[in-house]
Symmetry: C2
Subunit: 447 residues, 2 copies
């Protein structure tokens, strides 16, 4: 146990709530502030992509003994279901031996996490807008409006878990020598819905992450407990096939009939949902440093917001907590050291998952539709099964392992160079599982 302190967590999202439980268990008084009302009492907005919980996320929950409770509200997805235009459905397994990622509704999980945190004795302060923080004293300033009257809240430590547009970071950003970048994709997304069958079963294969890859745009669907799927349409804001071009019922229906004919039956509320739900943006945000002395630290999206194409936003945020907790165990009350080691250890890894996530849009939207790419995956899998000690595919390294993201990126780039060579060989389609290929890969690996 550490010396008990009074700690504020700004943001009651997934990372904020889970961090609060860890801090409470470490013996601290913990208050969680959120500008929104208690999401357990309001309808969740239609602007969420379902979560894909994988090894790193589960570890952070399991270390507290909370994993099994969350598994109750999660659906394993062991494969991609790839819907090509005018071709039969194909499946691509994510890992081996049933290794799965888990679909969870963000709203359902967040409500659950707040319940759990409250049961542990964490106090939540909803509907309170934190606008600023005094870094040297860890004093929060809240108020109705940014320019109106403010109240002060004194703490020993403040955590900014307030997401990609963090106000805590906003203050840190105004220090000298603070590096910062925000980069928006020209691709937006919109939530759609596949309702359950009348008997409550799923209309599509339940244990799959469904993708309709169409090069510059794509549709995905992730299963929910109630038999529905949460769909997300990713598409450029402007151009030929874009949100801008879908201005009315007619253009929308024509677009879906042309590009996603197989979905027309299963998305009955397409027109209503499309024009009701917001078009959301996708941003990659990086910054450094993440901490201020022993007073203030950023965590989760507040210091490393990424695009969702690897399904690792929440997993990376939860892993921040795992690492922070390990450092707390190691260094006791030396919060300055804990914070320094925390940011130093996490930064290269969150930069790596940002890069991998950015690249993965191409993989999902284009490459999954490319027979050459699917063959490459098959070769990797074949080789990996024969030489599990020599080749762990990049996806598995990122998703079904606890090794650093930065290591996955480095080794993944090396594997890519090898596979590029292999895929350029003559008649690779015929010899893909031949001893020749195996020997070639082994040789390149040893170089």
């Amino acid at each position: 146990m550490q010396t008990p302190l009074k700690i504020a967590v700004v943001g009651s999202g997934l990372v904020g709530s889970l961090l609060a439980i860890y801090l409470k268990r470490a013996g601290h008084t913990v208050h969680v502030f959120d500008r929104s009302e208690d999401i357990r009492k309001v309808r969740f907005s239609g602007r969420s992509i379902n979560l894909a919980m994988s090894h790193r996320g589960w570890k952070t929950l399991d270390d507290l003994g909370l994993g099994d409770e969350i598994r109750q509200i999660a659906i394993p997805m062991e494969k991609r279901a790839i819907h090509l235009l005018g071709k039969p459905l194909t499946y691509q397994y994510y890992g081996k031996d049933g290794e799965s990622i888990y679909s969870i509704s963000r709203g359902v999980l967040n409500r659950k996490m707040i319940d759990l945190a409250e049961q542990e004795g964490v106090e939540f302060v909803f509907g309170t807008k934190v606008w600023d923080v005094d870094l040297p004293t860890a004093t929060l300033h809240s108020g109705e409006s940014e320019r109106g009257e403010w109240q002060d809240h004194d703490y020993d430590i403040v955590f900014g878990a307030d997401g990609a547009f963090s106000r805590i970071r906003h203050r840190m950003q105004r220090q000298s020598l603070f590096n910062y970048s925000q980069e928006f994709l020209n691709i937006g997304y919109k939530e759609l819905n596949i309702p359950p069958n009348p008997d409550g079963t799923h209309k599509l294969n339940k244990n799959s992450l469904h993708i309709w890859p169409r090069q510059d745009f794509m549709l995905t669907a992730l299963p929910n407990l109630d038999g529905s799927f949460t769909c997300t349409l990713f598409m450029p804001f402007e151009g030929e096939n874009s949100f801008e071009s879908l201005t009315d019922k007619e253009s929308l229906e024509k677009f879906f009939a042309e590009h996603f004919p197989s979905t027309i039956e299963v998305i009955p509320e397409l027109v209503e949902d499309f024009f009701k739900n917001p078009t959301s943006t996708l941003v990659t945000m990086k910054c450094y440093p993440w901490t201020y002395k022993d007073k203030v630290a950023l965590i989760g999206d507040a210091c490393h917001a990424i695009v969702p194409f690897y399904g690792h936003g929440m997993n990376a945020g939860f892993e921040d907590i795992t690492i922070l907790n390990q450092l707390i165990q190691e260094h006791g009350d030396d919060w300055s050291l804990i914070f320094k080691e925390y940011e130093k250890s996490r930064k290269p890894n969150t930069d790596a998952i940002a890069e991998l996530s950015y690249r993965n849009f191409m993989e999902m939207s284009s490459k999954t539709a490319d027979p050459k790419f699917l063959l490459q995956k098959k070769i990797e899998k074949h080789f990996s099964e024969k030489h599990p000690d020599k080749w762990i595919p990049l996806y598995s390294r990122v998703t079904f392992s606890y090794r650093p993201y930065s290591e996955a990126l480095t080794i993944g780039d090396r594997q890519k160079a090898i596979m590029d060579d292999v895929m350029h060989m003559d008649n690779i389609e015929q010899i893909w599982d031949s001893p020749e290929i195996e020997a070639k890969i082994l040789k390149m690996l040893s170089e």
Copy 2:
């Protein structure tokens, strides 16, 4: 002439003042706001690097007929004077036929520009802190403090020329889809001074930019009209040879005796100046978009702050004005179009000069001390003189030309690849001006 509008320029620096003159001549009412008092009435702070005006900067002044007046306060520097430890002074000419860059004191130039703008009828509003802008209405908000009472100022158009930490950009940054990055170097700088001789002459060669390259750090000196030089020490914040390590008179004097012995006589106030003057930071800032409809536009450092190692911060800012003015001539009252074309045209070029400036620290601090690099420059010069149509050195392309910076970067990278090949040839020291080398370069250029 355009239809007369009421235009505010925020920031009375070099770019703000010169832009104001252009706008006034185009027929508008122009008010320039600055949070500081009139710099003509206060002592200028010791945190400035002398300016190096080159072709692009002169063009913006000459197009208004103001160049000759400014030439009166400028000193041509036709070469680098390279001070190596324990070796004779060497010179490296920047261009051909006396092509020079021009040393100007920032304070002297800024006072002059404000005088000139006032003579044209521009109104300056000093000591007025602009905190925010309402983008759709181009209304400025000023006040004593960020959280205190604010006054409104209505305009038709607002220009943010308020530097790297622009408040106008700060507002634009909070829009969705606004890309932004700020990246600090771990190198800081400090101003020092070489006073004139008793008779008012310069203690070092007057028509040179002096460099003491020492790998990870360097000292520079640029001449002033009064016989003095403004020196700048560039050095890491932390580490062995760093600002952090120079904590007192003893460590400072020991450091200078070891690394800059030749300067000890000419910098008599070293200790006093070093500990009195601030240690400043160096930032590269990029953002996009730069404009909001036909209402608000950023210009100069407010949208593209760069590090000073190419001497192009002011030149790039002045070139913004040249391009903006060309678009005003072309498109008349269509400010939406003018702003769109302006940002689209400038962005790739300011990104390019940012990259070139960042790279040039290495060139100045390390490569100018490397005989191989000086030989490479000699080969380039030799070839360029024989084939002026085939090879314009990168430095000349950036500094003594009006061609886009982005073109200079692209062609420069190609030239670098060629020179890397050439420099790796056996006994290049002996054959550097041989027909063999000439033929080799010609061949590579034609590939």
